[in-house]
């Protein structure tokens, strides 16, 4: 297929490497997959955007390198036995999307899509995913979550919250909780905050409770499309049956999966409800006058853009407006923000398979945050909060870490500072 030949429209998850052939061959080595968009560079220190290339300094770790590897594999120039470590290069990538965004902006090519498609090929050919991911897949298949936790524990976080069980009572809006927040008790407060804020704002909220299943994002990212498709079908069926018009989720992975990825799966019904990240929903409630913050929270903070919420789905301004609405909050920005945000290191299966690298990446983000003079990082993603949180604990750093809802609840109840 040549450059100008019209290409049949295919959904992302039905494409194979062959569908990216002209793109793969045409990589221009422009370096934008590794570097901060030129207009926005404010320092040499923060001029790179790819965590893997930044760490390992060789091209297989960059978007460009993956395009070149994909070309060679596609054309049969080498195969897996000639380079047994090839899967490692592809999986040492958080799927943050920085490479693809800059590449799309300049060259209309798709290094991240190529990476994910190649991962799917690796899984099909039995050389992927990484050994450490196999437990994750098994857990999703056996327990409907990647954390090896029994289904019956999924709604423990909600024991003290009077939130509707949508199986028993209809609701306008569904809170899709997500696996990480549900099963990680250090993050229960986020789910509790989110639910209580929404209900206090008058939202008619329900949840699936124990019936909720994984959105499938973790398995999608590591290339197990078969498991992902199965989860998607189950979720779409279940969610459509609830009749809700709106779904709110706190997890950017779930948000991207429900709002974008499901639509790219062939031969599945459409998810009828509109999906929001909670930050978008809060922003709307504030604009509607249904949410306000009477108590000041006097803190200087910096916002970390989660990749799957920001760069992937374009939700940049809403959380910033929410922070702006909280009296006393002094928001200072890091250099690499929004579309050029530095990844926390937690996504794409990297935390499971390459924890060292994930943590190093988080440390760099923390250092960048400290340069702003902020007391705390604020974000809205369970993976970011886990990875950055672990890095803060490991280093003993005094930088604070808050979920957006933590500050909102303080501002609604008693304030701080």
């Amino acid at each position: 297929m040549t450059y100008y030949e019209p290409k049949p429209h295919k959904k992302f998850f039905e494409k194979t490497l062959e569908d990216y052939r002209d793109s793969i061959w045409g990589c221009a080595r422009c370096n934008w997959c590794q570097n901060h968009w030129g207009w926005n560079v404010k320092s040499a220190e923060y001029s790179e955007i790819c965590p893997a290339f930044h760490e390992f300094r060789i091209f297989p770790y960059a978007g460009m390198g993956k395009m070149h590897i994909a070309r060679a594999l596609l054309e049969g120039d080498f195969d897996y036995e000639d380079a047994p470590e090839v899967a490692k290069f592809l999986y040492t990538c958080t799927t943050c999307g920085a490479c693809e965004l800059n590449c799309q902006r300049l060259q209309d090519k798709e290094p991240l899509q190529v990476n994910e498609t190649l991962r799917a090929q690796f899984v099909k050919d039995g050389i992927g995913p990484m050994p450490e991911h196999k437990g994750l897949i098994k857990s999703v298949k056996n327990y409907d979550n990647p954390w090896m936790q029994p289904r019956t524990q999924r709604d423990r976080w909600a024991r003290k919250i009077a939130i509707k069980d949508i199986d028993k009572e209809p609701a306008e809006t569904l809170f899709f909780v997500g696996c990480t927040v549900a099963f990680d008790n250090t993050q229960w407060h986020v789910a509790q905050n989110t639910a209580s804020i929404l209900m206090r704002a008058g939202v008619d909220l329900g949840m699936l409770g124990k019936k909720e299943v994984c959105c499938g994002s973790p398995v999608a990212r590591i290339g197990d499309r078969e498991t992902f498709f199965d989860l998607a079908r189950r979720n779409i069926d279940m969610l459509n049956k609830t009749g809700v018009k709106e779904i709110v989720t706190f997890c950017p992975g779930c948000f991207k999966a429900l709002s974008h990825d499901y639509a790219e799966i062939p031969d599945v019904p459409k998810l009828e409800a509109t999906v929001y990240h909670s930050a978008q929903y809060f922003d709307r409630l504030i604009t509607q006058g249904k949410l306000s913050f009477p108590c000041p929270v006097n803190k200087r903070v910096t916002w970390h853009d989660p990749c799957h919420m920001g760069r992937h789905c374009g939700v940049y301004d809403e959380p910033r407006r929410v922070l702006d609405a909280i009296p006393g909050i002094d928001l200072v920005e890091m250099e690499r923000i929004k579309d050029q945000a530095w990844c926390c290191g937690g996504g794409g299966g990297v935390r499971t398979a390459f924890m060292d690298f994930a943590q190093k990446t988080a440390v760099k983000r923390i250092e960048e945050a400290k340069k702003t003079g902020a007391e705390a990082i604020v974000t809205s993603c369970p993976f970011c909060e886990q990875n950055i949180g672990d890095a803060l604990n490991a280093t003993g750093d005094e930088m604070g870490l808050f979920d957006l809802t933590d500050l909102m609840v303080k501002a609604m109840d008693k304030g701080e500072g």
């Binding site: 490497l17 207009w39 060789i58 380079a83 965004l101």
Partner: protein, 568 residues
């Protein structure tokens, strides 16, 4: 994946060489994995590397990649290469001229770990850099201090300043600041034999790093445009100049794109140029008027940049390929034009005064300014240039393909006419690859007025489809034809502007009678063991005899088409 396809596997270095290199850099920083070397084998704007991939030629694959951290590491590596006769190639991004040049297992020396700005001397206005520092990085740091390097190439992060030393270093603002090569204070280099050379006043221990000459003959001149064949730059000191803009480029009011919304023009459209800068766009009715106006403006002394861009605006200022093609077809951007970059480098009154001068010139010569009253939609579409003229972020959008062939003659301004005429002749003779090839034939070539208009560079390119080897070869044919053209009309040194590269050096001896013989002498002096990308800048007699006959035949054919005798 293709089953039963012919594999392409690289040669390996002898084990004792690998061990010796590993002892220098450590196991973490040496790689010979097939997957790794693949990513150093297909270059950016070198059609030959693409053709070799299509032909499954293993010689495009290096044997090994090594990543030094310091000049000492580089020296140790080069000495090992000399001891074991291993060809090496210095590599930053892999834009061009970074492939193995012999069939021997070749070592890539990749500088990604040497990415520090060593110092910025604000008092004496210079910056010393390691080889992987790019323009965006240096600009960002210098602008915080009220300084900048003086210009941007089209590809702010592709181009590392040390690599550009291997060429000339072309900027949007060459009118005032000159090429990169005129902005170098000193270099520290590891010569091909492992000796270290420091140029300029810096080489005298207490003199300081301020002057590019002395003591003795100007050895920098022997290194410039050497394509890494006369040594590896491990430190480069560049001049800085006063910067009158903001400390950082302001946010574009349209916001930031995301993967769901990336192609909206609003993200690429800063409505105004940077503080204390102004762009004036002028349309002309023909090339002669354009060139006359450009000459007058260049010689008047106003402006920091003076260029003309035809089809390139269709690339850089269009957010989708459909827009590019449509705009080419419609001649949306003015066929004959120039843009003048003005700056208040000395006072707030400089721009108003210089604008008056430019307007007077245009009044006399003929031309219309793009404005709110004349083609406002075109002026709006050209907004990316407001920032790109200082920090070019769109400049590597080469028609969204790769540019396998570029004509880059240099010469007096009027020679743009020769370039356009010959390019059109070539297109008529060989046929277009893409509608965008008409850029430079039906409209102005890219024209950079250099060094106050003393001479200019002109550019026309074509962009073959990378999956079609026959198109790539055709584009390469254009390149060879172009080399003949520039030689025939004495349009500056060879194809890639300020660079001599084989086989053109040997096949076009008119470019400098016996220049290739002189360069053979230099190579014997600097590279006695012939390890620094041998055959890149000059062929020895032996290498020349081994060079494929088909390419010699192709070059002679192009010479013949230009009424030049064949070279034996």
């Amino acid at each position: 994946m293709k089953k039963n396809a012919q594999k392409v596997i690289q040669k390996k270095l002898p084990r004792e060489v690998y061990s010796a290199l590993k002892n220098v850099v450590g196991e973490q920083w040496i790689h010979e994995s097939r997957a790794v070397v693949e990513t150093y084998s297909k270059l950016s704007i070198e059609g030959g590397s693409f053709v070799k991939k299509h032909e499954k030629d293993p010689h495009v694959l290096p044997a090994c990649v090594v990543l030094p951290e310091s000049t000492d590491d580089v020296q140790a590596i080069v000495k090992i290469c000399n001891r074991y006769s291993v060809p090496f190639i210095p590599f930053t991004n892999g834009q061009v001229f970074c492939n193995p040049t012999t069939t021997d297992p070749t070592l890539i020396i990749h500088f990604s770990r040497m990415n520090r700005i060593i110092r910025i001397d604000t008092q004496n206005m210079s910056a010393t850099l390691e080889p992987y520092v790019d323009y965006a990085q240096l600009q960002a740091e210098a602008m915080k201090r009220g300084l900048w390097n003086g210009g941007t190439p089209l590809a702010t992060t592709v181009c590392k300043m040390a690599s550009q030393f291997a060429f000339a270093g072309l900027w949007q603002t060459d009118l005032k600041y000159g090429l990169l090569n005129r902005n170098i204070v000193s270099v520290k280099m590891v010569l091909p034999d492992g000796e270290i050379l420091t140029t300029g006043s810096r080489c005298m221990p207490r003199a300081g790093d301020f002057w590019e000459y002395g003591p003795g003959p100007d050895l920098m001149g022997l290194q410039r445009s050497g394509l890494g064949t006369n040594g590896i730059v491990t430190e480069i000191t560049v001049k800085l100049h006063a910067w009158v803009g903001d400390e950082a480029l302001p946010e574009v009011p349209g916001g930031r794109p995301s993967l769901t919304h990336v192609h909206d023009a609003k993200y690429d459209s800063p409505p105004e140029p940077l503080k204390n800068h102004k762009l004036l766009w002028v349309e002309f009715e023909d090339l002669d008027t354009q060139l006359k106006a450009m000459r007058e403006i260049a010689h008047s002394g106003v402006g920091i940049g003076l260029n003309a861009t035809g089809v390139y605006s269709a690339f850089y200022c269009s957010q989708t390929q459909e827009m590019t093609i449509q705009r080419c077809k419609e001649h949306f951007f003015p066929d004959w034009n120039c843009y003048v970059i003005l700056a208040n480098t000395t006072s707030d009154r400089q721009i108003p005064y210089e604008e008056t001068v430019v307007r007077q010139i245009i009044d006399e010569v003929g031309g219309i300014f793009l404005s709110e009253d004349y083609k406002p939609e075109v002026l709006k579409a050209l907004q990316p240039w407001n920032y790109d003229c200082i920090r070019h972020s769109h400049g590597y959008r080469m028609n969204r393909k790769f540019y396998a062939n570029a004509w880059l003659p240099v010469g007096p301004l009027e020679e743009a006419k020769t370039t356009s005429r010959e390019w059109k002749k070539a297109l008529d003779m060989f046929g277009e690859i893409d509608i965008t090839d008409r850029g430079g034939a039906d409209d102005t070539p890219f024209v950079y007025a250099l060094q106050r208009g003393h001479f200019c560079l002109f550019e026309t390119d074509n962009y073959p489809d990378p999956v079609l080897p026959e198109e790539i070869k055709k584009a390469q044919g254009y390149g060879i034809y172009g080399a003949a053209v520039v030689t025939k009309y004495d349009l500056g040194p060879q194809l890639m502007a300020f660079v001599n590269v084989e086989p053109f050096t040997t096949m076009f001896p008119e470019a400098g009678p016996n220049a290739h013989l002189f360069m053979r002498k230099l190579r014997k002096v600097f590279d006695p063991n012939s390890v620094a990308a041998p055959g890149r800048q000059v062929f020895t007699e032996e290498e020349w005899q081994q060079f494929p006959d088909e390419i010699k035949t192709a070059v002679n054919k192009m010479r013949e088409l230009n009424d030049m005798p064949a070279v034996r």
